[in-house]
Amino acid sequence: MSFFDDDIKRSVWDGKIPVMFSMSGNDVTHHTMPAPYMMMVPRNSYFPLVTGAVRDYFSHSTLIMSDNELWLEYKGIPIKWHLPIGVLFDVLVGSESGTQIWNLTVHFQSFPEKILLRCPNEESVETYYKNVLKEANYIKQGDINKLNNLNINQSNELWDGLRQHIFPFFHVDDYDKFWSINKLFYNVNVGGSSTGIGYKHIPVRLIQNNRPYVQNLIAPYNESGAELTLSDYFSKIPFYSIFIGGATEPSSSSPTTTNTGELSTSSSSTSMAYTNLLQYIKAGAGKYLIQGVEPPLESSFLWLGEYFSHPDNFLYITLIDSTNQLSLSSSSIPTSPKQQQTI
C-alpha cells in the first residue's frame, strides 16, 4: 500500500462536478424566467439528496406545486436518480470534449414514469442505496454479515456521512464519518501481503450509452494467482455483450467507422470486429472512465475496487464509444453527420 493511497481515497470522495440547473420553460408560470442555479455537486452522491435546494430556489417561479416530484433532464434524456451522480455524468457527458459545466433542466411535471423510478422522499434513496450496498457486499463476500453486524448507530453514521456529503456541516467531516463505517466493508491489504482475507469477487458494473449496466462476477486474482488488472477484466467481457442486443445497436451504421484511423480489421460492420472489450479499447475505438479518469490498463483491479468504488461499493466503469458517435439516443448534437469515407 502506498503512502498516498489514503489521499487518493479522499480525492475520489471529494470529486465534484459543476452543474447548472435551469428550469424548464414549460413549468415557469412567473413572468420572467428564473436565473439558473449553479452548484458544485459531489460525484459520490445521488441527485435527490441535492435537489432540495434546487426545488426551494425555483419554487418562487412556478405555481405548479412543487410537491410534484422533481426530475432532471439532459438533452432530452431523463436523469436516473438512482445512479451515482458521477456515473451519470461520465455516461452522458463523458464523450463530449471540453465540457465545463453540466447543464441540466429541472422539471416539475410530466414525470416520465416509464423511464425513471419514483423517488417520493429521501427514505427512498436510503432504501435504494442500502439495497445496492447489500448487493455489492454479497458479491464481494458471499454474504452480507458485515452489513448485518452494523449496529443502528453505525448504520446511521454511514448514511448520514453520505447524506451530508452534499451540504457538510462545517464542524463535521463527512469523509471521516462515512469512511469510518465504509472501511469495514474493505478489509483487504491491497498489493500487500497475500495473507489478507480475500474477496470472492469484485463488485463491478459496466455502463455504456445510458443502457442498463453489465454486471459480472470477477475474481480479484487470475488463474496464476496474480492480481487481476484492468486489461484482464476487459479481456473477459465479450464485445457482443455490450454492443449487441440493446436498443441502439450500431449494426446499421457501418459507414461511420472511419472516424479514427481505419480500424485495421473491419471494413464491414463494426459490430463483430472485436471479440472482447480489450481489443476494442486497444484499437482506439472506445475509451473508459472510472470516477471521471482513465486509469492505466495495467492498474490492479482489486486496487481500483478498493479506491475508486462509489459509496454503494460498486466499481462503475463507463465505456465511451469514440468511433461512431452513436452516443446518446437523442443525438441532436451536430456532429458532422457524414464522415468522409476515405478508404
Partner: protein, 143 residues
C-alpha cells in the same frame, strides 16, 4: 420460509396456504397460467440448457415468505433481456394483488434488486442450480 436450500422439498409448507386460494381460482385444470411474456416450463427442462455464454431465457424460482401466499406454479421462464420490473409485475399478476398492496422481492433472501436491473445480469451473479431464487413477502422480511 426458513430453509434456504434449493431442493424442491419445501412444498409441504406451502400447501397450507395454497388451499385457501383454490376455491376462488379456476377449477382443477392443469396449471395453465397464460400471460403474455411467460411460458411455463416443466422443472425437468431446467438443466437442459447449460451453455454459459449466451442464454435467451432464464428460470426464476419464486419462494414466498411471511404471510404472502405461495404460487401453485413456482418456476417461471422469463426472457433474459427483461428487467426485474417484469418479475415484480408478473408476480403481482399471479398473486392477483391490488396496486396498493405492498410486495417486496428479494434475491436469495439478501437484497431487493433495482427494478431496472437486467435479469441476465442478476442471473449471472446470483443464480444457483441454473435458477434465480426470488423470495417475496408482503413485508420487508430481510430489510
Amino acid at each position: 420460509m426458513e430453509d434456504s436450500n434449493n431442493n424442491n422439498n419445501n412444498n409441504s409448507s406451502n400447501t397450507t396456504t395454497t388451499t385457501t386460494n383454490t376455491n376462488i381460482e379456476q377449477p382443477s385444470s392443469p396449471p395453465t397460467n397464460t400471460s403474455s411474456d411467460t411460458n411455463i416450463n416443466t422443472p425437468s427442462s431446467s438443466s437442459s440448457t447449460t451453455e454459459p455464454t449466451k442464454r435467451d431465457s432464464i428460470i426464476i424460482y419464486f419462494k414466498n415468505a411471511g404471510s404472502a401466499p405461495a404460487l401453485k406454479q413456482k418456476k417461471f421462464k422469463l426472457q433474459a433481456t427483461l428487467s426485474f420490473q417484469h418479475v415484480i409485475d408478473n408476480l403481482r399478476k399471479q398473486l392477483k394483488m391490488k396496486p396498493n398492496e405492498p410486495l417486496f422481492c428479494f434475491v436469495n433472501q439478501v437484497f431487493q434488486p433495482s427494478p431496472d436491473e437486467c435479469l441476465s445480469e442478476l442471473f449471472k451473479c446470483f443464480s444457483h442450480n441454473d435458477q434465480l431464487v426470488v423470495n417475496y413477502s408482503n413485508a420487508p422480511a430481510w430489510g
